[in-house]
Symmetry: C3
Subunit: 390 residues, 3 copies
């Protein structure tokens, strides 16, 4: 909280789409606000800042934890969820994004969106939503400008990567303690489905900016969006940390302080998926899903075993996962991680996930109130309102 005042918060912006659009100060502010909300919840203090208003959600892909986290964040601040079910709406009848966004924003403070399946589409959709909200606000159609919050797109998953960073900060004793730590973001085998690239992309783009040396490891063909790999290189160079790519999971684990083994679909599959979508070729999309899984199955040896974990720093690296993990012998026959490794770090991965509601709430506060946020938080802290109402 105290360090919030020292941060340069002007120009925070009205949306949170990608971490790389934000300054280091803005990211630190997001973490500081989230931590404050987290501490308050432990003490039973309510940060309700709205007495009414809506929080719209648009989920174009499945979600449990992010959906819950967004609902919980809205509730924490006093907003009411309205989930847009595009199948039950008239969007099927050709409604434009400009129109949908304005129609859903009359009394709305935030629009949270997940659109992560197709490369080149998710972020551009969110940008279009933001522009539509700009237009509505500038033209007096809307009384307030709702914040667009990225709940996972094709490029970034900022509510995840910032939860991860806050978890690391608390685990190692502060943001400054992360400098020089080695983190390995590795591909791992999964039999479940062709997963998005946004989690590893979010990690490699964000963590080098906080002094963490990042190793990205994957089988050939499983590269991420090339521009984001380049971005990671640039950010590391700027910050004095390192970013490197390897194709050997075993080697990548050596001396790691933190490991993040996780599956994603091959880049070739992801690229073709978008082409098929543009052609509206449903059968092709189903076929491609099968191909993605067959492709993955060639790399079943890319899995986080106890043996691999022993190669990490003191055999004791922190294991991370955005969840749900494909746990060998538990949620599938062969998956991303051995049951024993997962079990040992279960408390840690669950705690990691627990930051997300507060990260989202922090994003809403900062995008809605910008520089005024520290003052508002002080006022909330002083009023000391209980989550109980008796």
């Amino acid at each position: 909280m105290n360090n919030l005042n020292k941060l340069h918060l002007s120009g925070y912006g009205r949306d949170f789409l990608r971490t790389w659009d934000k300054s280091a100060d803005h990211l630190k502010a997001t973490l500081a606000v989230a931590q404050t909300l987290r501490d308050w919840h432990r003490k039973g203090i309510s940060p309700k800042v709205f007495s009414s208003s809506m929080a719209v959600s648009i989920f174009r892909d499945k979600s449990t934890r992010t959906k819950y986290s967004y609902s919980a964040a809205a509730n924490l601040l006093g907003l009411e969820i309205e989930d847009l079910d595009e199948k039950k709406s008239q969007i099927a009848h050709g409604e434009t994004i400009m129109e949908t966004v304005n129609m859903l924003s009359f009394l709305t403070r935030t629009i949270g969106i997940r659109d992560d399946i197709f490369l080149g589409l998710g972020h551009s959709y969110m940008t279009e939503v933001a522009l539509a909200a700009d237009w509505g606000y500038a033209n007096g159609v809307l009384d307030q400008r709702p914040s667009v919050i990225n709940l996972q797109c094709d490029e970034d998953h900022p509510t995840q990567s910032l939860s991860d960073l806050l978890h690391l900060s608390n685990y190692f004793g502060g943001l400054d303690k992360l400098r020089g730590k080695n983190l390995t973001m590795s591909w791992a085998y999964s039999p479940s489905y062709g997963k998005p690239l946004s989690v590893p992309q979010g990690i490699i783009a964000l963590l080098p900016r906080f002094g963490i040396n990042v190793t990205l490891s994957y089988p050939k063909g499983y590269n991420l969006i090339p521009e984001i790999e380049s971005l990671a290189t640039r950010e590391a160079k700027k910050d004095g940390s390192t970013f490197r790519i390897t194709h050997d999971m075993r080697e990548a684990f050596i001396d790691a302080d933190i490991v993040y083994p996780k599956s994603w679909a091959s880049y070739a599959v992801m690229s073709r998926r978008t082409e098929l979508l543009k052609k509206n070729y449903v059968k092709g999309l189903e076929h491609l899903e099968g191909e993605a899984l067959a492709q993955n199955a060639k790399h079943k040896d890319w899995t986080c075993t106890e043996k691999l974990m022993k190669q990490t720093r003191n055999g004791n690296a922190l294991y991370m996962h955005c969840l749900p993990a494909d746990i060998s012998g538990v949620s599938c026959k062969e998956g991303e991680v051995d049951a024993k490794v997962f079990e040992k770090y279960k408390k840690q991965t669950y705690t990691q996930a627990g930051y997300k509601p507060y990260i989202i709430a922090a994003m809403i506060l900062l995008t809605q109130f910008g520089e005024k946020t520290p003052k508002i938080l002080r006022s909330i802290g002083q009023r000391n309102q209980s989550v109980f109402n008796f």
Copy 2:
């Protein structure tokens, strides 16, 4: 607000099903309350009148903006939405309306319903819901009588037509400025689906009561429910305005101050749809949808072009639409309106849609509190509670 006191509000009734069941004073009160809530929202004043209680919604047809508007209205007043998903309920197992309504009303203040597809069914369903609520309240099953709010039926779409009227009132500088204005409600071509008749019916039944001369224009066979066309004639005569029907879109636009070009299914198609439903003939219903579109396709020249707009009063009539519009070259190849016309009036049609949450909230307040509404609003205005909670 001030003029609310001059209106005769007794007998407002417990439901809002059709504008023609309401006196002119009751309609003016709905507009005045809605405008007050709208002004308050601009100033950040919260009209929350309930500290808890439920707002039930039953959508038997797709909805984006009305669904959002109903949720936003509920939130504005402090009610919580419970959406009845009839597919996930036991209604499939033969539950009666009497029972469903009572089961959903124990802590409920309002039941919003959309049931607009089948002629002769929507309004009668809502009436049955209202009678069931009467029975439950009279027999002590319910502690309060929830208001039934029509969110579009087969006959009327009052939350739309009253939003439209409030928009016109603000656009032209007051309800009294509407007297003598010419409005053309015209059929227009749409490739999307066989749309309900309730929007044009709502317009022709309501606007002549406020001094507006209404021209209804459609290709032969696209008439509305005959009783409602007769009602429009009677209402116009009573009020000193005019109502006429023409089958020439071009002629209908001449000297219009306001145009409302919009698609609907042909009356014959609509009538047969209901017969097929009664026989539960699903294939027939699908076939009929195709027939409706083929029928529409014969009238592609019924579309709102820039050329047509030039024929209106000073070439500058206000274009209206309930949205979403089928915009030629944008949301479809050929549709209800040219892209340039739509774009010119986008701010206006979006603003028009923005009144709906406030119209619905006004209906809830007036059906729940009747004559006491002005006093309650004064008390809310005086307390001056912010939408912010800090």
Copy 3:
């Protein structure tokens, strides 16, 4: 309210899964708190005890009235519903219960679950959810332990049976007036689907504990879970009431003070259903549903007629049903009850259903606050907050 203080409330527990896990004092406390909340609602007093936080719901079977009741209870106390749609979640991708529960509990006070279709699975699922919540709370993943509330499992339906008991208590003038009354829980014919056993099981396990003599009547083969029939016998013996089983509906109605005629699937069908599920044999499950209905159809004479009702005490027994009932000539051709009988008692069955929101709210309060509940209720009663906010 006053008698709450005399009850021994320690050890109420963090969940409400089955009435037979609770002491008589705990059950009486649930009824007393529910009655207080019901009285307050009549007077317009709000018992909102939470200023924010979530109430998660997981419905693995259809529900209207229990779903609404859970939502209304949450709203009454100030909690916000988050419904888990397992089809839209990542649970399909093999997520463990341990993980799902923790992911949905960060800001959650209660998890309500319906899982009633498969014998041997519903209660064990809820137990696993409770253990997962225990683990999360003990390990600091969760700041609070959410209460697990059984909204119908394979064994018990406690929100139903306690609503039924509270209804009986009010109908006959107090819990003590129920001692010595004869209640007949009878199987009845239904054409709709193979219904769960939990309602009759809940009734026979609960009511003998309050001095009611229970007769369970069903056609051979329609027995309930044997352990629960034995439990009913033991509880009756302990309390000095009686429990007996008969296979003659006519005889079972003689001298009954209360009758509860209701359909359920045969035990053999229910047992095979679980086996088929374990084999994931979908076609077999559909086939079995047909078999269940064919089996039922052999016993169409098991129906509650006016003639049968005449055999009850003074021809005037109280008719009960958990709703929706299959009413002959109304919701089906031949069903559980004659239309005239149902109509005569409609007000009573609807009133019976109306206790459920308050029973659920009472369970949430007592599982969250235990022994402190009476003090909290006194404080709420004193503050006397209106449901209106003006």
